[in-house]
Amino acid sequence: MNTDLSAYKDAFLAEGTDLLTSLNQNLLRLEKDQKNKELINELFRIIHTIKGMSATMGFEKVTKLSHELENMLDKIRRDLSLLTPDIIELLFEGTTRFENLFDEIRTEVKPDAKKQDLQGHKLETVRINVNLLDKLVNLTGELVIGNARLKNLASNYHNDELSRFLDGFNRTITDLQNMVLSARIVPVDNTFNRFPKMIRDLAREQEKEINFILEGKDIGLDRVILEEINEPLVHLLRNSVSHGIEKPEERIQKSKNRVGNIFLSAKRERGYVVISVKDDGKGIEPKNIINTAVKLKFITQEEALKLSPREAIMLIAKPGFSTTDSTTLVSGRGVGMDVVKTRIEACGGTVSIESEPGKGSTFILRLPLTLAIIQALLVTVEKEIYAIPLLSVKETLITNKHHISPDEKFVNVNSENLPLINLYKILDLPENGHKKSEECKIVIIEIANKKIGLAVSSFLSQQQIVIKPLGFLGKKIKEFAGATILGTGKVALVLDINALVN
């Protein structure tokens, strides 16, 4: 198979990525259920499949890694007592290494194309107008949609030659799409490299000692998104310096190192980029947040009791939450947090906060790699098809009707009561037979530390979609982030999860 392996690269990456996802899921299960031999067999099978695929493609690093993990799992399945938390950790690390290797493969340019053109001259970089680039992305998006339609039409003809041609055509378009998109992607370092100086200056100004650590500078992100998140990142970093990290004396008193740490890191996680700002400072005390929120009449005393600590912390992202006199109470974390949240969500991303009082806080931004093309879960609600951005989908499940409260406002998942949104109600669709069924299909979404169930009629598929803006119409209908054209030529609306949840 030395002919032209590059044509198979996408197929390899697509299936490989799915395999990594189930690898991760099974590892998480194994962590909780360490005596389960079936899980070990499943892990072995997944890694074995990766090995076979990568060996065929000639991806030596992937093959070597899978070979090692396979050997390890083979020993474990013969003797379960070998499985220790350390080993599970090692397997998780292996998954991360797979992810990184896949990223390398994904962004790899053919060496001969990189170095020389036809005449043997060295190719120089060319500058290209960003507007032109945006147009190229949009046109490629149209091609992707057109191709999906073509495939759909062709399936009516059962012509082998046609479908073989279309398979090849499909690969070319996918390659084109990846290349055009990668041209828009720039390393986060373009923005990150300004921060060390900013932190140093701020620290000096406020008489703090701070060690600033940058990680994942090479990770790429859509140029537009990177521009959009610059300001939110400045906000978060400033907050970490001003309200997170304590003064040296205070840190020593708390028997912490006098020098505080702030980490800014970017990493790829499946199709997303996760950027986090982490400090080892004061942290956020949920009780203080709740008290302030009640005082400011954001929530009632009753509502306050229902909040989990994670949900309570997110209150600081409510517009107008922070007031100057609450600074001491909540470490002033509210400064601009609502702005941060709005901006990140506008890019199709999510914000979550983790904090341990006394130990520090982490602000986590999850962002799509690009704005125009996203992974989505297609569902039907009654007879209509809707797309849900996969970024916010936690899981899908089919549950029995008795797990849903009589008023249909809550669904019980793993003995946790989650708020339930009935899409057909919100979208004002006529219901037919929806209620009669014993089984309920639920999409669990997680956004801003909050989990919510969406009741749908059926799950269709998971696929890449090209989002088209709705134009003036869309401004009136806040539940939708845009529309997409499916392979059948039908239009599906893309749900705006943030708007729905709020």
Binding site: N2, Y8, A11, F12, H48, T49, K51, G52, M53
Partner: protein, 121 residues
């Protein structure tokens, strides 16, 4: 008439690769199965001239699937295609009734030769 081949592999990528190689040589891929259980059913349904069989799969592994297929049709022609190349497993597969063994990663030429050989072409 073009010989009919059934592909059994849990990896869509591997099936696509094998399919492309075989189609180029004018074979007809009549069906695909993703695990041993389905393979046995599809064999009865499609009556292929040859089966390529992966070894490690969910539900029923390749070796058990070969046994199952052979139970129904002692003349069934099955080639194992697997990344497991240990002699003991090759032996086990041959004992189960497989007629050939291709170790992943494979070369197109090697696949074609093995297939032709088993089909007596």
């Amino acid at each position: 008439m073009a010989k009919k081949i059934l592909l059994v592999d849990d990896s869509a990528f591997m099936r696509m690769m094998l399919k492309d190689i075989l189609i180029k040589e004018k074979y007809t891929v009549v069906g695909e199965a993703t695990d041993g259980k389905h393979a046995a059913g599809k064999y009865i349904e499609l009556k292929p001239d040859l089966v390529t069989m992966d070894m490690i799969m969910p539900e029923m592994n390749g070796i058990d699937a070969v046994k199952e297929i052979k139970k129904n049709d002692p003349n069934a022609k099955v080639i194992m295609v697997s990344a497991m190349g240990q002699q003991s497993l090759v032996d086990e597969a041959i004992q189960a009734g497989a007629l050939g063994f291709i170790v992943k990663p494979f070369q197109a030429q090697q696949v074609i030769e093995t297939v032709k050989n088993i089909l007596g072409e």
